[in-house]
């Protein structure tokens, strides 16, 4: 031991030696997990833009009819085939004006109102089908991860559904069940139920697999053992302890599901098996416009851009969520 001045008391010596460890300022209050997630999420610029655009388009289709109260189905044959208003920039003779900012179609229906109405349907189908797929997928994933007896059969069933050719079967189911459902719920309601149901029933498999994997790992952790040792029932363990811990993979697959659902609905409408012909959706508007796209390219571009931007923003949102919800990446 080297010779040093002996301090007056051992406590003072400690303070002197470990002085660097004493906080200079009072410690911050503990932060919740969701604040951390939000701060990581904010770093991903694409995800913030994506989330913002998704919010914007959802609000636009919900509140759009209040601001732009033109009936999308009103025919105005005298003012048919208007061009969008920006056409006036290149060609001052063009039939265009602020009365119909996006122009009118071959029957004189306002395209802006149709885009809003179509967006409502497309987004509603997307959100509902995604929710249905999430509920089915999470339920199957949780059950097969938690209950060993059911695991084998449920996973074989998932594999089976995964090896079905989805798009042909979807086309098949839509053409087959259209008439019975239409006669019961009307042509629009029946088609809506059918499309939401089919998309939901054919896209839950990935969610189920991911959730099952996470549940299998979580089930072996000590806090589940603790919960079980104080006599918690299975249902409560699942609701209180397991589900909150698998919320992040569920959220990430929700974004993927939303994107797939919007694209599938548009694809069905594009192939002519979707909603009835006077009922606008983005895919329907696009497919109706394809035959006349030489003269009116904007009628293809507008719904196409709407679909693509929505799906792009949802995909970016999913990317950002995945990074933000992954604790290994957070705080870097």
């Amino acid at each position: 031991m080297t010779e040093q001045g002996i301090p007056a008391s051992p406590i003072e010596a400690d303070i002197e030696t470990f002085g660097a460890l004493v906080d200079k300022e009072p410690s911050k209050p503990p932060r919740s997990q969701w604040i951390d997630v939000w701060q990581q999420f904010r770093k991903h610029k694409g995800a913030v833009f994506g989330g913002g655009f998704l919010l914007f388009i959802t609000l636009a289709v919900i509140f759009g009819p209040l601001l732009w109260d033109v009936d999308p189905k009103a025919l105005d044959i005298r003012n048919k085939n208007w061009r969008p208003v920006y056409q006036l920039l290149f060609d001052s003779e063009a039939k265009a004006g602020w009365a119909h900012p996006f122009g009118t179609d071959q029957l004189g229906r306002d395209i802006m109102a149709q885009m809003i109405a179509g967006g409502q349907v497309s987004m509603a189908v997307g959100w509902l089908a995604m929710a249905l797929a999430l509920v089915i997928g999470s339920a199957i994933g949780v059950i097969s991860g938690y209950f060993k007896k059911l695991d084998f059969w449920l996973m074989r069933f998932t594999d089976l559904v995964l090896s079905l050719p989805i798009l042909p079967l979807t086309l098949l189911a839509v053409t087959l069940f259209r008439q019975p459902l239409n006669s019961r719920f009307g042509p629009e309601g029946g088609m809506f139920i059918l499309i939401v149901g089919i998309i939901g029933l054919t896209s839950w498999m990935q969610t189920a697999r991911i959730v099952r994997g996470d549940i299998l790992a979580l089930k072996e952790r000590e806090f589940i053992l603790a919960a079980r040792s104080i006599g918690t029932r299975s249902g409560k363990i699942i609701r209180r302890h397991l589900l909150p811990n698998v919320i992040s993979p569920i959220m990430v697959s929700a974004t993927l599901g939303l994107a797939t659902a919007i694209i599938t609905e548009s694809a069905l409408s594009f192939l002519g098996v979707g909603f009835p012909s006077d009922f606008p959706t983005w895919g329907k508007l696009l497919s109706d416009a394809v035959s006349r796209m030489q003269e009116f390219p904007e009628r293809v571009l507008l719904p196409g851009i709407a679909i693509s931007l929505t799906v792009l923003s949802v995909n970016y949102l999913g990317d950002g969520l995945r990074d933000a919800l992954d604790p290994r990446l957070r705080g870097r």
């Binding site: 050719p165 192939l271 693509s308």
Partner: protein, 355 residues
């Protein structure tokens, strides 16, 4: 590995049987009547006879059993006969005559009854084989092009992680992922066929390549459909490639290879690439069924006369045997390539052996 493969092959038989049953039962619910197109002047009892001639009067399980026999027993026999009679590869073998039988009444040699399409009244398999080349050319070529573009992009953006190229590449793949083919197709047609007039908007399937000029026409008409499909493939595969490269570039063996003084190119393109290709190869295998299944939407946009188009027209025309056969062929391909992907994964990566 062999036992694993055999076990999986055996397991795929009940899987396929179950899938075929699902499709069959779905089709049984079909409200359409194949006699709907027959003129109203045909009396109902004749219509009933025609229905029975199509095999519709039988109970469901008999119909299903007969379909199974025709798909798994009659069609392979017809194929064997064709292979030993006309094909280049096996034509030297003595001709087989599995697909004919001697009529007990007249004593004449007659061909067996094959599964026929209600739409065209000709054997389904013949139509499928007619349509296959178009689909394989367009969709298959687009897959190859997509992979060839995707792999270098994936390698380079992982190697220069967070560089400008990586950012741009990620953005482009994200866009390719998000824009559906029914939008890119018409968009390309508007730009390149309507405005610029460079490329034809419709794929002419009757075009025959005989010389350089006709090859050029064929090339021009293939550009757009191939590029639309290749965009999707590229987006998907370059994402996987980039992820796999990123996983491997930080591994210890890469540091060892660099410490040994290997050239950077051989570190990246030999050591890292070979290990990163393992998951990518399986992803490529999993995408194969889509080639044969045809891209229903893209074929529809560019009017390519392929398998996807065939399925769509059969659906609209209520041609149930055709729909059943096509959907089941897709299912077989999916199951088969899932199996191939799993086996490949085990073969390429010795850490993952299933036994």
């Amino acid at each position: 590995m062999l036992t694993f493969t055999i076990r999986r092959l055996l397991l795929s038989i009940p899987t396929l049987l179950f899938i075929s049953m699902v499709i069959f039962l779905l089709l049984q619910l079909a409200p359409g009547d194949p006699m709907a197109q027959v003129p109203l002047t045909v009396p109902p009892e004749v219509k009933q006879k025609m229905r029975e001639a199509l095999g519709l009067g039988q109970p469901i399980y008999v119909q299903y059993y007969k379909w199974l026999i025709q798909f798994f027993w009659v069609e392979p026999q017809v194929f064997l006969d064709w292979a030993t009679r006309d094909s280049f590869l096996l034509g030297w073998l003595p001709d087989t005559n599995f697909s004919t039988f001697i009529d007990p009444d007249s004593g004449a040699v007659r061909p067996v009854q094959r599964a026929i399409s209600w739409q065209t009244r000709s054997p389904i398999m013949d139509i499928v084989i007619q349509r296959m080349p178009q689909t394989l050319w367009v969709v298959g070529l687009s897959y190859v092009v997509g992979i060839l573009i995707a792999i270098p992009i994936g390698i380079y953006s992982a190697y220069r992680h967070y560089s400008l190229f990586d950012q741009a590449g990620t953005f482009v793949t994200m866009v390719g992922f998000s824009i559906p083919p029914f939008f890119t197709g018409p968009l390309l047609i508007v730009v390149f066929s309507v405005t610029l007039g460079w490329l034809p908007s419709i794929y002419d399937t009757t075009h025959v390549v005989t010389d350089w000029a006709s090859f050029k026409i064929q090339f021009m008409q293939m550009i757009m459909p191939v590029m639309v499909l290749a965009l999707q493939t590229t987006a998907q595969i370059s994402r996987y490639m980039r992820g796999a490269m990123l996983d491997n570039l930080n591994q210890d063996y890469v540091r060892t290879a660099r410490a040994k003084g290997l050239k950077e190119s051989s570190v990246v393109l030999v050591h890292v690439l070979r290990n990163s290709m393992i998951p990518v190869v399986t992803v490529i295998a999993l995408g194969m069924p889509a080639i044969f299944g045809g891209a229903i939407i893209t074929e529809n946009v560019f009017k390519v006369n392929g398998i996807g188009q065939l399925l769509l027209t059969a659906l609209f025309a209520n041609d149930l045997p055709m729909v059943m056969t096509l959907t089941f062929i897709f299912a077989i391909l999916i199951v088969l390539f899932n199996l191939i992907a799993d086996v490949l994964y085990g073969l390429l990566d010795p850490r993952i052996r299933y036994d």
